[in-house]
C-alpha cells in the first residue's frame, strides 16, 4: 500500500514539474512548482481525511477498505512531505525576506498547517503510537482537520486560488468529517445485522 501511495505521490509531483515547465503563468517556474506541490499536499491531506469515514461507510455496507490505516498514514505522510517541499520551494524564492513575508496572514496560515502536518508526520509511526495511549494519539491526530483548515485558508488567501475546486474539496472533507460523528459500526455488528436480515 505504501508503495502504491509513494508511486502516486511521485507521479503527482512529476506532473507538477511538467506542468510548471510548460506553463507557469505570471509566476516564476519555482513559484509554479511550489504552487503545484501545495495542491498535491492539500489533495493528499483531503484524501487522508476521507479514508476513515470511507472505511466506516464501507463497513456499514458489510465491506472493508483493506489497509485503511496504512493508506491513511501514507497519504498523511505524502501531504506532510509535499507540504514541506512546497514551503522549501517558496522559501527558495526570497530567503532574505522570510521573516518579513511571514507577516502575511496567508503565509502564517500556511506555516501553521505545515507545523501541524510535520508534528503529525513525526508522531505517525508505530514507535510513537506505542508510547502514547491510543486515545491520546487519536486526539493528537484529529489536528489533521486543523491542518486541513489552515491549508484551505492559506490557499484561499493566496493569489490565483482555484476557489471553486478548493471550496468543493473542503465541503467534501467536511461532509466526510461529519460522518465520523456517527457511532462507528464494528465488523461484528455489521455481520450480526447481515445474519439477522432474512
Amino acid at each position: 500500500m505504501n508503495r502504491g501511495v509513494a508511486l502516486l505521490w511521485f507521479t503527482a509531483v512529476g506532473c507538477v514539474l511538467v506542468f510548471a515547465r510548460g506553463d507557469s503563468g505570471a509566476y516564476s517556474r519555482a513559484l509554479a512548482v511550489a504552487r503545484g506541490l501545495g495542491v498535491v499536499s492539500l489533495g493528499s491531506l483531503a484524501l487522508a481525511l476521507c479514508v476513515t469515514p470511507l472505511a466506516r461507510g464501507l463497513l456499514a455496507l458489510g465491506r472493508t477498505l483493506p489497509h485503511a490505516t496504512r493508506l491513511r498514514r501514507a497519504l498523511g505522510l505524502a501531504a506532510a512531505g509535499s507540504g514541506l517541499l512546497h514551503a522549501l520551494c517558496a522559501i527558495a524564492q526570497s530567503p532574505p525576506r522570510l521573516a518579513e513575508q511571514l507577516e502575511e496572514p496567508a503565509l502564517r496560515w500556511g506555516l501553521g498547517a505545515l507545523l501541524v502536518l510535520c508534528a503529525l508526520g513525526v508522531t505517525s509511526f508505530s514507535a510513537v503510537l506505542r508510547r502514547l495511549r491510543l486515545s491520546t494519539w487519536k486526539e493528537l491526530h484529529r489536528l489533521a482537520y486543523v491542518a486541513f483548515g489552515c491549508g484551505v485558508v492559506h490557499a484561499l488567501l493566496m493569489p490565483f486560488a482555484w476557489t471553486l475546486p478548493l471550496l468543493g474539496v473542503s465541503a467534501f472533507v467536511l461532509v466526510f468529517g461529519l460522518l465520523r460523528l456517527l457511532p462507528p459500526r464494528t465488523r461484528a455488528t455489521s455481520t450480526r445485522a447481515r445474519a439477522a436480515d432474512p
Binding site: A26, Y27, S94, R97, W109, V153, F160
Partner: protein, 736 residues
C-alpha cells in the same frame, strides 16, 4: 468522544486565560491540554470519569473560552488575516461560475457594457427581466462576449435597488445569475444663470433632466443622456452638453422645440460667448479638443485639439477662453482666431481645480483647489490636503491672492482649524462684491469679502442639506445652493438667516420606508464628501469618485498616483497592493489617521461602502469595431494577458509579487524600503481613462505599458507580438 470534548474544553479555557486572540495560541493550548490529560491519567492524578462526565466537564470548561472568542472575535479575525475573506471568496466564486458576467453592477443612469465568459458558446443573450427584451451579446472570441446595455434604449429594470436576478442564455441553456441594480436619485450640481439673472439652471446627470429655478418656481425639463453642463444662450434658451450622448441640446424654457446638434464626442463641459454667438464644447476622452459651435445657427464651425481634456472652461474678457484640465492640473488661456483658438498662456497648479468661476467683469478667476504650492516640486506631506481659494488675474493668468479656507497642520494627526472651510466645490461672485463659497466637506456656505476678511458663515445644520456643490445668486438677491447628495436645493432669501429647503428627491423618511438601500447610498455619499477633523475627505483626492491625476505620498515618501473609485463592486481586495479586504475598511484610515469626523454617523462604514459600490465605470467611448476587437483579443490571449487579467472581469482578483513581473523595479524598491512589494491585479475595464498605469504610475500610456515598461517581458509576452498585433491589442484595451 467524551475525552475529546474534555481536551477541547480545557484548551479553550487555557486560551481564554492566556487572553491572546491568536489561533496559534489556541493550538498551543490544545497541545498543553492534551499533555495535561495524558499525564494526569498516567499518574492517576484524576479519578476515572465516565465519558459523559468528561463531556460535561469539557462543555463547562469551554464556556469561558467561547465567551472570550465571542468578545474578541473582531481581533481574532484581524490577527488571523481573515477580515473580509467572505467578500473575497464570494467575489472569486462569482467570477469562477461559468458562464460568468462582469461587472456586477447595473446602473439605470448610464449605458454600460457587460462581459460574459462562456467558453465554447456560439450565442449568448442577457435577460434582465420579463419586462425587458433580451440583449444579444457580441462574440469577441476565446469564449468572451460583450453585451452593450443602454437604459434609455433597452429600458430600465423595475427593481430600483438590490440584487436583480438575470438570465444568461448560452446556446439556449439558461443560467441564473444576478446583478446589483442601482437607480440613482436626482443630483443637481453646478448652476448656470440667465443674462437677466432671473433664472438659473442645473443639470442632473443621473436622472437626465435640467432643473430650472427662478423666483419661487422650480421646473424640471427632460434632456438627453447624462446632462453634464449647461449655459444660458439668452433669457429663455439653455444649451446642454451630455456625457453619455454625443450631442448638445438647446432647450426652450417657454415650451419651444428642442434643437439637437450631434458632435464628435465624448463631450464635457461647455461655455457660451454671448458677444460673438459662440458655444464652445469640450471634447474629452483620448482625443481632447474644443468644439466651436455657432449660435443661433447651431453648426459645428471648428475643432481645436488640446493636450489635455478640459475639466472647466469659461470666457474671460477680450474673447479669451480659460480652460482648466484635471490630468495635468493646468490653467490655459486661449485667444480667438479665425480657425478656432490659439494658446495664449498657461499656469500650472499643484492640484486640479475643484471649481472654477469668473467674476461679472470676467477679469478675475476664482479657482478652488485642494492644495497649491508656490515652490516647485511635489508635495511630500502624507495625503496632504490644504483646501484653498485661488484668485487669479484672468488676463495674465497670474495668481493674485490665496485664501486658505481650512487651516490644517502639516501632519494630519495634529490638530488644525479644520471644522470649517472643507472641500469648497462651488463659488459665485455676489452683487455686493463678496464671493459665495459652498463647502461640501463642512456643509456650509460662506460669503467671503475679498481681499480676505472674516466671512459670513451659514451652516445647514437645521435642514437635511449636505455636501453642497453649486451656488448662484439671482436678481431678487436669493442665493440658491445645490446638494447632489441630498437631492435638493436650498435657497437663502435676502434678509433670511436660515436656508429654506427645496427637495427634488424623496426625503430621508420616505426613503427609509420605501428605498432603504437608496438612503444608505445617500448617507454614504454624504460621508464621501465629509471632511475629517484633519481636513481631508475622500473627495479631496477622488474628485467626485474619479481620480484627480495627482501622485500622493501614501507613506514611505513614495509618490503614488491615485485611482478612480468607480467600478469597485466585486473586485475585493482593494488598493494597488490589495491591502484592504473591504471598501469599508478604508474608513479606519479616516478614523485613526485623520482624527475621525466631528459628526457622529451610525453605520458610516456600511453606507460609504454602499455608495462607492454603486458607482459604475464609464463605458468606453471608442467606436465599436468587433472585427478589430477580435483581433485585439487574439493578441491579448497570445501575450498571455488573460492569465492574470482573466475574463470576464479582466482580473483574477489576485495579487502578485512585484518581482514576478518587474524584477528590476522590485529590487530597487526592496533596497529603498526593505519590503518586497505585492501588487494587486487591477481590472482592465475602462482602462483608457485611468492613466497613468502600473503600480506606481510610471507608464503614461497603454503603449508604454506594453513597450518600454515591460523590459523583462514578464508582464505579458508583448515582445512576441508583431506591430500589427500590438496595435490591435491597444485597440482592444481602449475598447474595454
Amino acid at each position: 468522544m467524551g475525552r475529546q470534548l474534555f481536551v477541547t474544553g480545557l484548551a479553550l479555557a487555557l486560551w481564554s486565560a492566556a487572553g491572546r486572540p491568536r489561533w496559534l495560541y489556541l493550538l498551543l493550548a490544545y497541545l498543553i491540554a492534551l499533555g495535561v490529560v495524558e499525564l494526569s491519567q498516567r499518574v492517576k492524578l484524576l479519578p476515572e470519569l465516565s465519558a459523559r462526565a468528561l463531556a460535561m466537564l469539557g462543555v463547562l470548561f469551554a464556556l469561558p473560552g467561547l465567551g472570550f472568542a465571542y468578545k474578541a472575535r473582531a481581533r481574532i479575525l484581524e490577527e488571523a488575516g481573515l477580515v473580509g475573506i467572505t467578500e473575497r471568496v464570494a467575489d472569486r466564486v462569482r467570477l469562477a461560475r461559468v458562464p460568468a458576467i462582469a461587472p456586477g453592477l447595473l446602473s439605470s443612469a448610464q449605458p454600460q457594457s457587460f462581459f460574459v465568459q462562456a467558453p465554447g458558446a456560439q450565442r449568448v443573450t442577457l435577460e434582465l427581466g420579463l419586462e425587458l427584451q433580451p440583449l444579444a451579446a457580441a462574440s469577441l472570441g476565446h469564449g468572451l462576449f460583450r453585451v452593450d446595455y443602454d437604459p434609455r434604449v433597452h429600458g430600465r429594470p423595475q427593481l430600483l435597488d438590490g440584487e436583480l436576478p438575470v438570465q444568461l442564455r448560452v446556446d439556449g441553456t439558461a443560467h441564473e445569475r444576478s446583478l446589483r441594480v442601482v437607480a440613482p436619485l436626482v443630483h443637481p450640481r453646478w448652476f448656470c444663470r440667465s443674462p437677466n439673472a432671473a433664472r438659473a439652471a442645473t443639470p442632473s446627470e443621473e436622472t437626465d433632466e435640467l432643473i430650472v429655478l427662478g423666483g419661487r418656481s422650480v421646473q424640471r425639463l427632460p434632456t438627453g443622456d447624462g446632462p453634464l453642463d449647461c449655459a444660458f444662450l439668452d433669457d429663455t434658451h439653455v444649451v446642454v452638453s451630455h456625457r453619455h450622448a454625443d450631442e448638445v441640446q438647446v432647450l426652450s424654457l417657454e415650451g419651444g422645440a428642442v434643437r439637437t446638434l450631434r458632435l464628435p464626442g465624448p463631450l464635457g463641459r461647455l461655455a457660451f460667448d454671448a458677444l460673438h454667438g459662440r458655444i464652445v464644447v469640450a471634447r474629452v476622452g483620448v482625443e481632447p479638443a474644443l468644439l466651436h459651435v455657432s449660435w443661433p445657427a447651431l453648426t459645428l464651425q471648428a475643432v481645436t485639439p488640446l493636450r489635455a481634456a478640459v475639466e472647466w472652461l469659461g470666457f474671460a474678457a477680450s474673447e479669451r477662453l480659460i480652460v482648466a484640465s484635471r490630468r495635468d492640473a493646468t490653467l490655459r488661456a486661449y485667444s480667438a482666431s479665425a480657425n478656432g483658438f490659439v494658446p495664449a498662456g498657461e499656469l500650472a497648479l499643484s492640484r486640479p481645480a475643484t471649481s472654477f468661476t469668473l467674476d461679472r467683469e470676467r477679469m478675475r478667476l476664482y479657482v478652488t483647489v485642494t492644495d497649491h504650492r508656490t515652490t516647485p516640486g511635489p508635495q511630500l506631506g502624507n495625503h496632504f490636503v490644504q483646501d484653498q481659494l485661488l484668485v487669479l488675474d484672468s488676463m495674465e493668468l497670474r495668481l493674485v491672492q490665496r485664501v486658505l479656507t481650512a487651516r490644517r497642520s502639516e501632519q494630519q494627526t495634529k490638530a488644525g482649524n479644520t471644522d470649517q472651510g472643507g472641500s469648497p466645490l462651488g463659488a459665485w461672485p455676489l452683487r455686493d462684491g463678496r464671493l459665495a463659497l459652498a463647502f461640501a466637506g463642512t456643509d456650509e456656505l460662506w460669503r467671503l469679502p475679498l481681499p480676505e476678511a472674516e466671512p459670513e458663515r451659514l451652516h445647514f445644520a437645521d435642514v437635511p442639506f449636505y455636501a453642497p456643490h453649486g451656488v448662484v445668486e439671482l436678481a431678487d438677491g436669493a442665493l440658491w445652493i445645490s446638494s447632489p447628495a441630498a437631492g435638493a436645493l436650498a435657497v437663502v432669501r435676502p434678509g433670511a438667516s436660515a436656508a429654506e429647503l427645496v427637495p427634488l428627491a424623496p426625503s430621508e423618511r420616505e426613503l427609509l420606508a420605501q428605498r432603504p438601500l437608496a438612503l444608505q447610498r445617500r448617507i454614504g455619499e454624504r460621508g464621501f464628501y465629509e471632511s475629517t477633523r484633519a481636513g481631508i475627505a475622500c473627495q479631496s483626492c477622488h474628485l467626485h469618485a474619479d481620480d484627480d491625476g495627482v501622485a500622493y505620498n501614501l507613506g514611505d515618501h513614495r509618490l503614488i498616483p491615485n485611482l478612480s473609485v468607480r467600478g469597485l463592486l466585486g473586485t475585493a481586495p482593494y488598493l494597488r497592493d490589495g491591502s484592504y479586504p473591504r471598501i469599508s475598511d478604508l474608513d479606519e484610515v479616516a478614523q485613526e489617521r485623520y482624527r475621525g469626523y466631528a459628526r457622529v454617523q451610525p453605520g458610516r462604514r456600511a453606507c460609504l461602502q454602499a455608495f462607492v459600490e454603486s458607482l459604475p465605470r464609464a463605458r468606453s467611448s471608442a467606436p465599436r469595431d468587433v472585427a478589430a476587437e477580435r483581433r485585439g483579443l487574439d493578441a491579448f490571449v497570445r501575450a498571455g494577458c488573460e492569465r492574470c487579467h482573466s475574463f470576464p472581469a479582466f482580473t483574477n482578483l489576485g495579487q502578485l509579487p512585484l518581482g514576478a513581473l518587474f524584477p528590476a523595479i522590485a529590487r530597487e524598491q526592496s533596497q529603498d524600503s526593505g519590503v518586497g512589494e505585492t501588487v494587486d491585479v487591477p481590472s482592465l475595464l475602462s482602462i483608457a481613462s485611468s492613466a497613468p498605469y502600473l503600480n506606481d504610475g510610471r507608464a503614461a500610456t497603454l503603449s508604454a505599458v506594453l513597450d518600454e515598461h515591460n523590459p523583462d517581458n514578464l508582464h505579458g509576452d508583448t515582445r512576441g507580438l508583431s506591430e500589427a498585433e500590438r496595435a490591435d491589442l491597444l485597440h482592444f484595451l481602449v475598447s474595454l
